[in-house]
């Protein structure tokens, strides 16, 4: 790759639009002129990526020539007042937490926490007292927003079991009533394959009759069914790779295969927001782990250069290999990995790339092939293609795809292939059938329709939320839509208010997010109809007004509807090939 290309083309978008960079950026790029000759992505990056003059950050679309489409990602800056209030909120909660702990200690407040047995009181305590401070005093107050039991298909609408608590969420009782037809904005049902009727369910039924439920052995011993082989061939074809292997659990696919690929003397470069399973896998491998800033190619390149130049710490030997771990869509940020740049870097520095497409497979790209398909890249450029079947395929498990040698090696060295029971046959069948539908191999266009529906729903939902004035994180094309709540009290309030309006949403706070960036997360699905989305949006807007969640200081579009009646006129916007408005790119 010619090193000079980044400079000349950095400011141009492929479609000819000129991307106006702030002058501040340009000067700094000139200052680093020499370095640029060597580094691929010595971006003209500001020291402070969130400049004060414009309060929201649009993703830096540098190296645009690598992209075949406009890449827009937004992370609007937290308003200062909100940040201060959020910290105050935590402060108050902490003070009250200590107060209540004090009262509990002296028996003035009833303590609901399960106690250690009398016989084992003199053992070393199983938990340190402070360990559970957060759980006891913060999480417990709003615990009813999680683990809500459902008793139907997790499709576009679902039924919830009604729970009640008489002791402020320490215990729950089921009232026996159902909350019917709750709009499901929480499940990762991107393509709507969570179904109990239709082709997939029929095929799974057939397979249950034929094979039964379990397998009772590992792949390497006596658990290698023909259906597993069929699944793996199909997955390889779907991904466009030579070979693939399927595993029974998505989490374990990461945590049990990374140790087979890297070991002592290897370096793992991991995105700071990588999923727990990747982190665990990296840790179990015994390699050295270094973390780069989220989706920040400059940070990644710096780590790569330093690693190769300096070698291993202390011994100074060169690294055996370098493995880059990234995800396709980051499930808490809604951002999409800057894959073209990562691939350019990994080629330049001879590193290997492990791409976790847990959320993106099926959910992105014109053929549902994940980020590789989305950016129209060659799957051969990604060394290890990993993904899960839980989300888009409505099943369970995970896969790894790649070159034949890689998969052959995993077959004999993956912890999962040798020690873990193989996949359940009906689950495998569900994946086979749904994947064939996505690929159009069933002879219908149902798959294409679902893919298009998902992409339209995503664009529509994201645009509407933004217009309403919420702060939305992530890429415009990502079906994971995080909406910022910030304050801890609003986590519980939002979840409850939404449920009152019959909408099930996911709310997340610390430790899944940075402490002040609590958020609600919506997962758009192809199963959502426009009506469902409109109902949900209306409710979100209403709750947003009550809780004052419309933080965005982004200039609102003039046609922002106060009532939600005029949406039909905007439909045409969705059909435009480039749905990115210039105002989004260059807010300054």
């Amino acid at each position: 790759m010619p090193p000079s290309m980044t400079k000349s083309s950095a400011n141009k978008l492929t479609n000819g639009d000129v991307f106006h960079r702030t002058s501040n950026g340009k000067t700094s790029s000139r200052r680093n002129g020499f370095v640029k000759n060597h580094c691929l992505f010595q971006q003209p990056q500001q020291k402070n990526p969130r400049p004060s003059e414009n309060n929201h950050v649009v993703s830096r679309t540098t190296n645009a020539s690598l992209y075949n489409k406009v890449f827009v990602e937004q992370f609007e800056e937290t308003p200062l007042l909100v940040a201060v209030l959020t910290y105050m909120g935590y402060g108050i909660l902490t003070i009250f937490g200590y107060l209540r702990d004090f009262l509990r200690h002296w028996g003035m407040e009833k303590c609901h926490v399960a106690r250690e047995r009398e016989e084992q009181k003199d053992f070393v305590p199983l938990y340190q007292d402070f360990e559970n401070f957060y759980t006891r005093n913060l999480y417990m107050r709003i615990r009813d927003n999680w683990n809500r039991p459902i008793c139907s298909v997790p499709g576009a609408k679902m039924d919830l079991l009604e729970r009640a608590s008489k002791d402020y969420n320490w215990t729950f009782q089921h009232t026996g009533k159902l909350v019917k037809d709750v709009i499901n904005m929480g499940s990762y049902n991107y393509l709507g394959f969570a179904e109990n009727t239709g082709r997939c369910a029929d095929a799974a039924t057939e397979s249950t009759h034929h094979y039964g439920i379990g397998v009772g052995s590992t792949r390497y011993e006596m658990g290698n069914l023909d259906i597993h082989e069929e699944l793996e061939q199909l997955v390889a074809r779907f991904l466009g790779v030579e070979s693939s292997m399927a595993f029974g659990m998505g989490f374990a696919t990461n945590s049990m295969n990374i140790p087979a690929l890297a070991g002592k003397g290897c370096l793992i470069l991991s995105d700071e927001l990588n999923h727990a399973s990747l982190v665990l896998g990296a840790r179990l491998s015994g390699s050295i782990i270094r973390v780069f800033k989220h989706n920040n190619m400059v940070s990644l390149e710096k780590l790569l250069r330093d690693a190769i130049v300096h070698g291993q710490p202390r011994t100074r030997r060169p690294w055996k290999k370098i493995l880059i771990l990234v995800e396709g869509i980051y499930s808490m940020e809604g951002s999409i990995v800057r894959l073209p740049e990562v691939i350019a870097l990994k080629k330049r520095y001879k590193a290997f790339l492990y791409l976790d497409e847990a959320h993106s497979i099926g959910a992105l790209g014109p053929r549902g092939g994940g980020v590789v398909d989305y950016f129209a890249l060659d799957p051969k450029d990604v060394d290890i293609m990993m993904g899960t079947f839980t989300k888009s395929f409505g099943a369970a498990g995970g896969y790894i795809g790649g070159k034949r040698e890689l998969i052959d090696y995993l077959r004999s060295h993956s912890h999962s292939a040798i020690y873990a029971t193989s996949m359940s046959p009906p689950v495998s069948q569900q994946i086979i059938t749904s994947m064939k539908i996505i690929m159009g191999e069933d002879g219908t266009t149902l798959g294409v329709v679902r893919l298009r529906q998902l992409s339209e729903n995503t664009t529509y939902f994201r645009r509407k939320l933004r217009e309403m004035g919420f702060i939305i994180y992530g890429n415009d094309d990502s079906p994971v839509v995080p909406m910022m709540l910030y304050m801890p009290a609003k986590i519980g309030a939002f979840g409850r208010e939404m449920l009152k309006r019959n909408i099930g949403t996911v709310v997340v706070g610390f430790p899944a997010t940075p402490i002040i960036e609590s958020r609600a997360r919506f997962c758009v699905s192809a199963a959502h109809t426009r009506d469902i989305l409109d109902t949900a949006l209306e409710a979100i807007s209403e709750v947003g007004d009550i809780l004052q969640l419309k933080y965005s200081r982004h200039q609102r579009l003039p046609h922002l509807p106060s009532s939600l009646g005029s949406w039909s006129t905007e439909e045409s916007l969705l059909q435009e090939p480039s749905h990115v408005k210039p105002s989004v790119i260059n807010p300054g």
Binding site: T135, S187, H210, G212, L225, M256, K391
Partner: protein
Amino acid sequence: MLFIDYSSAFNTIISTKLRTLGLNTSICNWILDFLMGSPQAPAYHLVLEGILILWIIRLLFSKTYKLQERSDLTEKEKEDLIEEWQPEPLVPPMSKDHPSLNYDIVTGPPSHKIIVNGKECINFASFNFLGFLDNERVKQKALTSLRRYGVGTCGPRGFYGTFDVHLELEDRLAKFMKTEEAIIYSYGFATIASAIPAYSKRGDIVFVDEAACFSIQKGLQASRSFIKYFKHNDMEDLERLLKEQEIEDQRNPRKARVTRRFIIVEGLYINTADVCPLPDLVKLKYKYKVRIFLEESMSFGVLGEHGRGVTEHFGVNIDDIDLISANMENAVASIGGFCCGRSFVIDHQRLSGQGYCFSASLPPMLAAAAIEALNIMEEDPVVILIWFRFFIFMYDLVNKYFQIDSYSAVKSVIGEVYAPALHLQLERSSGSRDTDVRMLRSIVDYCLERQIALTLARYLDKEERFLPPPSIRVVVTIEQTEEDIEKAASCIREAALAILK
């Protein structure tokens, strides 16, 4: 060499002494001048000393400066280094005939009759102890669930992935095991591997049996605790370690107060097919104040009158065990695993068990299948009793063939009478693990030809902490008849005679 008598340096100068050192007159005069003149020129002296000190300081600093300079590569050099560096291949090359490249292919259900590589065999390889793999009742329940919930859950337990079936299964498991609470995982392997690091953290101490299975080893690795292995089922060795620790604790009581201790054992060891001495372990637990985690994947549904595992087998109060984990992939013949125990212990995993929090939940149809399997186990505990006869029969039979027979020297049986999965090992190793494995594999192939499906116990040779010797695993299930077992035993013997000659 100059000798100057410092005690009287400024009083008297013995010039003769200088002469004797062999210095010529002019130098001696200069020295005398300098020394005697110095009291008259203090400024000169001070400046000189000052310069000296500065020079020393400069020396000190310039040294580190130089070091830094040396490691500061120019861009050109860096570029060359980057060009030069060649990583190892992502995976080492594999030989084309590696056995893992050709897994045995099972067509159709892996139940009592199994079609391996196109040949119908009697299954002595799957952990289908209670024959639930193709049980019609289990299938029907799973199908009913499939028609209600679909296949996948599309979410982790926290985010709309908790189904009423999960709650029911947890409740049923807790009741079945007579514990306060149970928690289910969606993958058997991940169960104990997630449970251990939820409690045992950096700095804590874990005492583990050497024969512990791989998922325990991975859990320990993830916990980053301090691990002490004791010899397999050797309570004296364990007590020795506990005593050592006690002495250590007395030396540092402050640290001891916050260091959690755990003993982690398996109920019925998958790698050795023998039972842990649980009553002794419980005694040690209270004596040394250590918590016990028990992994019962092989013994759940197998040992004890009702299939509750080793606690029932030994009549140990289940509350004395802090955590019991088992998978539902063997006797229960579904997928997933569970942990059970007191709420005080188990509930913690709902926020700290990584495999629980961060993974999609168990497909409801698999949970429903597990519930139905539990129903059958509860309704008909006699099943387990009848099945016991089979173990004993098998054990006797195999023993008869391989221990008493004059050719017995070639094989040995590892495991106890009530182990449903026995290991057949070579009595005398050929010295190379590869050859041993190949020989055992030929026995397996010989039996496959004659419609007995067996398998080698597979391990990751390089990853196992204590690699068990190669073995053939023979699994007894309730569906096998006495004739089946007899046939298998004689077939293995034939093969052993033919191949191990």
